[in-house]
Amino acid sequence: MNPTLHGILVFLETWWVELTSGIVIVAVVPLVAGYVVLVERKLMADMQARLGPMRVGPHGLLQPIADAVKLLIKEDIIPAESDKLIFWLAPVISMVAALTSMGAIAFGPAFQVARDINIGILFVLGVSSLGFLGIILGGWASNSHYSIIGALRSTAQLVSYETAGGLAIISALLLSGTLKISGIVQAQYEQHVWFVFLAPVAAFIYLVASIAETNRAPFDLPEAESELVAGYMTEYSGFRWALYFLGEYANMIVVGSIATTLFLGGWLRPFPNWKGSGLIPEGIVDAGWDLVPAAFLGLIGVYCLYRAGKQPAKAQTWFMWAVALACFVVAALYAIPALLFAMGIGGVAGSLSVAVLPGLNGAFWFLLKVSGYIYVFMWLRFTLPRYRFDQLMHLGWYILIPLAIVNIFAVGVAMLVVANANWNHGLALTLATILGTVVTLLFAALLVRWHDRRTESASAASMAPDSYAG
């Protein structure tokens, strides 16, 4: 055999999983990110008493594609005074970092996107942080005042909130004892409870830090529209701008996945390892949970059918029917293996359903949790005003970081107590968690009071001469 061909074959044989998943990520994630944008616009419209995109496709469903096409065919502008190579490179870095970090995320017990590496969480965090390099370089290379201020804000924000977020993650890692993503989820299975209940303060800190890391409101200062026009993206247009934009939304999916894995039990269903009271046989409980995804999707389908009759235009009625049909088909795909499994039917169909059921259910729960997390992001964006830069820094350095450090100690001490106490395990766990949380919250209250007093005296001192300056 030709040695070159042989080499290629060996390479493909070794790396085919990674290559395929790479192609899948590059093909699917931008599309998903585009639709996340559409969902955001629709949700925003709903909260703001308007309709949102309605023109391209039924209920604006084709809007992301139209937007992408528009951005692709726009004129490609590179400012004359910019650093052209870096200007070209920066959005690519942002996008690549966001897509690469998707690789290590696990959507289900048997559905790792690329590979279950032993430092999974560290890899995801490290690579997604590289995305900021794209923002900083892009702002610097644009050679514009708005861009450079946006990039500087972004740098400062990254340093502060990556620290707080990283410290918050440590609490969860202490509980799980591993950096491997499947291991973290396994630990939550074995401890019968999601880590959000064992380390609620850490989960909250991570929520805040992840909003800041993805440059979302109320921490969207690097691209604050009303102040800096578009921040680091001011000089970008067309597809380069789209790369930044997609990178941002892909990053949202990444931080949502990290939070889901660490705090919300990954692909586990609620009460994953919960031994019931014994009144109902375990098998029936499990079968009931297996049917939840199908029931959930079925209910959405029924709701669509109910709304279909109330649509103002005929096309919209048909569209609602189509959505309902799609929901029913997917619900059936979920229901059939679950029913086969529950009834204990053997044969090819039975063994196939045993094989696919955990993956299907895992993907459902994982995506549901990530969607919920992203929904919180959006909800906050529509509700809250934006922080000012100094307030953002104060919140990060004076409150979140000390709080995260104290929380690590609280979680550590609680774990020691649980490990060494001779009490009932569940009782000890509950007590230790409550005590740890109370201690951390007390500390938080002290911090906030101290900080308020400090800023009050500072602003009183700085305002007095300033109001007469000049």
Binding site: M44, M47, Q48, A49, R50, H145, Y146, I149, R153, A217, P218, D220, L221, A224, E225, S226, E227, L228, V229, R381, F382, T383, L384, P385, R386, Y387, R388, F389, D390, Q391, S459, S462, M463, P465, D466, S467, A469, G470
Partner: protein
Amino acid sequence: MQDDALQNNGTLLGADELVLNMGPQHPSTHGVLRVKLKLDGERVRGTECVIGYLHRGVEKIAENRTYQQFAPYVDRMDYVAAVSNGLGYCEAVEKLLNVEAPPRARVIRTILTELQRIASHLLWLGTHALDIGALTPLFYCMREREEILKIFEKYCGARLTTHAFRIGGLQYESYDGFEKDVERFCNDFERRIQEYVDLLTGNSIWISRTRNVGILNAADCIAMGASGPILRAAGVKWDLRKAQPYAAYDQYQFEIPTGTSGDTYDRYMVRIEEMRQSRLICLQAIEKIPEGAIMGKVGKVIKPPAGEIYHSIEAPKGILGYYIVSDGGTQPYRVRIRPPSFINLQALDRMVRGHLVADVVAIIGTLDIVLGEVDR
């Protein structure tokens, strides 16, 4: 330390000052205002306003138009409060002619002007909140403003630049169901205001973004001629509707809301309360609109006697004054307009010094300027 740096004419880190050109095309300069910011990092060391991008020579145009012909032009100054502009101009010319509008006309004028005040404050609230990063209040405000504009449209056919009033009274009778429309709006509006208050007033981010930001105390306000909600937020109870009643304001009960510290938060609270008071005035006025003529004794050709007159009203943004000189002809010899936005804008430099870039947009927002009025 910052003051030391200022005295040494350098920045905190010893670097050069950054001059940031905000505008004339910028999302939150509310039109074509251009502000040159001298920045030390993000801290503002000085500002320079460049205005005139929307200058149309309104005052000069007046010299070549008859008194009636000039009336629509004043609508184009503060184009988000056209009715108030028209009221000021019509009353000024009436004063010059020494005629009075009939009682019915005065009451209808009052209702429309107060609705316009609410509409103008709503637009201010929405854009101000948007500048500070709250996206949603804008759409709620627009929804209520739409109701007001619909009433204007039903009354005179125009929504924005209405030319609702005529010298001597009104051209149009109030339409059938006018009172009912106003009443329905006012009844809904109480609940709607509560929605903005729920979203903003107690929000800790909103408070930290507006408290102690852009303080302008009473002495400074008076020295600079700042008027309207800005003056009242500094604690001065001065409102021309009470001080020199015009139209039909002397017949109605209402409060003048005031603040204490003169910061952005106080101005927000004052304007919110003013909307509530305007609503009360409207409700009182529609209860009994006097019957009778809507046009006073004004000839087809307006030819005031030679002389001069100054008349001012409390427009949504502050004191709007018209100084008209007549030489006895059909066209004014000179019209000088005292626009509240232009005079309030002077305070910008004093208010933003020492603050951050983000506060600049908050302060431009709280000044509630309209560039059509600043540049005329």
